[in-house]
Symmetry: D2
Subunit: 276 residues, 4 copies
């Protein structure tokens, strides 16, 4: 079984040599390595798949040879923990539950939190806890706070918005900073906001898409993780586009979560680095 | 050899029966038929590939059975005539010239008009007339008028903007209404305007694209004909995206012109109907 | 709600006019029409979406105007009935169950028949009957006959092999002639037979795929319905290809069943006609 | 401007550390790095983009730290030299000539050798030498030898078969071992041999493709470099498929040559390693 080392820091000369040299000293074998230097931003990103036994001295020594403020993490084979938020639509949520059932990725869906109980039977049918947190009679902040309390008992690595159809408050976004992954039903930055398939139909585009992105305080403006598209024609109504789009949303959302689970995903300002 | 009949008119009951019935009466055999009804717009579009001899009475009789104002056209096997406008970039223009050289489509490139002479050797190497119409010292209207005079001696069916990098005046657009096809180097409606690849890079998208569209008075807002995309990553600079994008632009532009040449393309308000 | 008329018969002149003319006489409005003539095979195929009330005289009159032996069917909005066969793998089966749960297509999964009980909880979690028909101690013919008896009580329109990993006997195939749809985990005709992903890995291909096809007596040789592909690289092991392939298999299988359910699929000798 | 270092050798521990460590000692900055270990074959492949001044001691020192028999090369910014072989079809050849004209890749097309003079005007229009080496009256070996003599005066890095429609003799293949890149008009290993589009039509596939591969002594069996596909339908004749296929062939062939020119392509037994 392999270990994944992720490194990100200020760019400098010799970083690959320093990291891989230390691995060599520690008798760690590199199975796969990816690195990226953002020249403009002067940031260095690396993902290293290793085999061997990582001793206690490895990380401290690694920090020693890297620039100040370097973020280094070792990830074993434990599953990445995810809580999913949903509303009423089943496709992205069901896609995730099925993937977990198939053992198709290294994710543990710890729980689903939804503001309606529509999807409860689906979720519980897969043996996953379902929490109804209705927004009825609550302010956005109160509702988000109620959800956050449920979520925090699970200490998830990531929160996936599996077609959660409400805008999250800045407080919620800040509380789970860099942890929230959304699926937007358009090919961003086209068709930001509501009813993107209707916008796409009105504009007469010939391709529609979906975008997985991290959530920040600007609606549909967070770092893009993954996108995919499908062809449409004049004969497709907005409803037909929405139906075709759901297949894309499901695939893109599951793959984005999988990238996160495999530690292949880094946030770099308003962009992502993805070692696919 | 087949004949193409194109029909567009106000929607009504029995239109397919009326057109195909008349074809049957005239001993015309239908090889391929496509139709589309825009319910909201109440418009009917049909493309019919026929074999047989079309007599003089056919079109008048057809107009008789169709709603008032119907547009019907018979297209034989003569090549579709196209004049291309260019500036300095070779890829879309070269793609078209090569397609013609390969006999890959039923298009005659009558001439190329450009505001620089950069591409003259390429164009003349393919035996196509090249007209330099410099914009130096002219207002936009004067320059467009000078180009229009060159173009009009060719009486083209369509004008293709093969990376013509200037905005056309409303007068020019009106003069060649519904005849001008542009290639825009983004996946519209994302990244309207200048430097779309730089915009795409800044936004951190994971897919870039190109869009062929008819030109109207709103910049990059005309009816979309065709779009295609390609994947990019964090490692691709704006320049790398532009380079990858040029391959997409070339393919999309050539295919859009080919659709027009095969009479598979109808304008429907701000959209197109494409019988691909 | 619309009705679908499917027509297939020997080719002849005026067939479109005859069918659409009769629709017009019966005050049936054509919403969408697709037709195809196989010139070499002299066969005519048409799918017509209609609105209006179809009287009892329509089909007899239609048969009267068509060549002898014409097959004509009217399909209302009732769901297409499907029984799925499975073994141990969840992805194609789960994909179908989830699609049904989402109301994403007009299919009723009547039951699942499997030779292991592995997938029983998944199937029953979606409220679908699960029948275990073990092959232990039975000849292939006996086992197939036992499955056929279970299937026949449901009178399905189609039988979907959702990764059913045994070869079916000619008797079974004949019993459900033109009704059995399989998903093969390669881009046919490449890599017929066992372990296609290992074959693909050994050959060093750069794209892998999946193929949905009707089953006939030649292994992996039946009429192809749909195919899709994904890119792979030198870094992907046979196991990684299999994992990526499962996503393609799931999508292709569900779409093939959907085409059948929407009456967009015709068998034409060893090929299919698909009005997508 | 960057330098590319390519390394391939027997696998061993610490290879990345050794190579990147030596770069660091020599004050060479790594812009981009890719590596791959073929575990089964015990081979290590690495491509390193560097900036800085590489002194004379670098390569000898590098060979010293690597396993015996390591192949290491430094590639500056000089263009990769290619001779193209052709017959009568223009699309792949024209695609390459146009790419060179656009300055779209770092390739110098030194000459074209063809067994007909059909393409002479196209080639010379782009200012590239054209050599007619007719096969009339020659044995295959004599013809191949005549071509080889023309080719050898150019000392090309690669020979591209731009739809050269004859089988090459084993002597020719051995003479230019690992240097010959072919474009085959099918999605290999489907439809090996003659008339693949007719084979594809007969089989009724729904996707066709093209494959660029290195040539060895087994027809269409050499290491695959790149593949791409496009969708087809029941309505596409073999001729229509061939026409659509030519667009794919052109793109795949040009990209395969580009990969070679950018030193992103390694042969690994009967497979390739491609750092795309």
């Amino acid at each position: 079984m392999s270990i994944v080392l992720t490194t990100q820091c200020r760019d400098d000369v010799g970083l690959i040599a320093k990291v891989t040299g230390l691995c060599y000293e520690h008798n760690l074998n590199i199975v796969r390595n990816n690195e990226f230097v953002d020249k403009a931003g002067e940031r260095f990103f690396m993902r290293t798949e290793l085999t061997g036994n990582v001793g206690e001295q490895f990380l401290p020594q690694l920090r020693n040879v890297l620039p100040d403020g370097a973020q280094v993490h070792l990830h074993g084979n434990e599953k990445t923990k995810v809580v999913l938020l949903a509303t009423k639509e089943a496709h992205c949520l069901g896609g995730m539950l099925l993937k977990q059932y198939e053992n198709a990725f290294n994710v543990e869906i710890q729980a689903v939190v939804a503001n309606y109980d529509t999807l409860k039977p689906l979720v519980e049918g897969f043996g996953v806890p379902f929490h109804l947190v209705s927004h009825q009679g609550l302010t956005r902040e109160q509702h988000d706070d109620a959800m956050a309390q449920v979520i925090e008992q699970y200490q998830p690595d990531f929160i996936g918005l599996a077609k959660y159809m409400r805008v999250l408050s800045p407080q919620f976004v800040a509380r789970f900073s860099n942890q929230i992954i959304n699926i937007h039903h358009s090919f961003l930055p086209a068709f930001i906001g509501a009813k993107p398939y209707h916008q796409a139909f009105e504009r007469g585009v010939k391709i529609i898409g979906a975008t997985a992105h991290f959530v920040n305080d600007e609606l549909d403006e967070g770092p893009i993780i993954m996108q995919d598209v499908t062809q449409v024609s004049h004969a497709d109504s907005a409803e037909a586009m929405a139906k075709m789009g759901r297949d894309i949303e499901k695939v893109v959302f599951c793959k984005a979560i999988q990238l996160a689970a495999e530690h292949k995903l880094f946030i770099n300002g308003n962009k992502t680095v993805v070692f696919a």
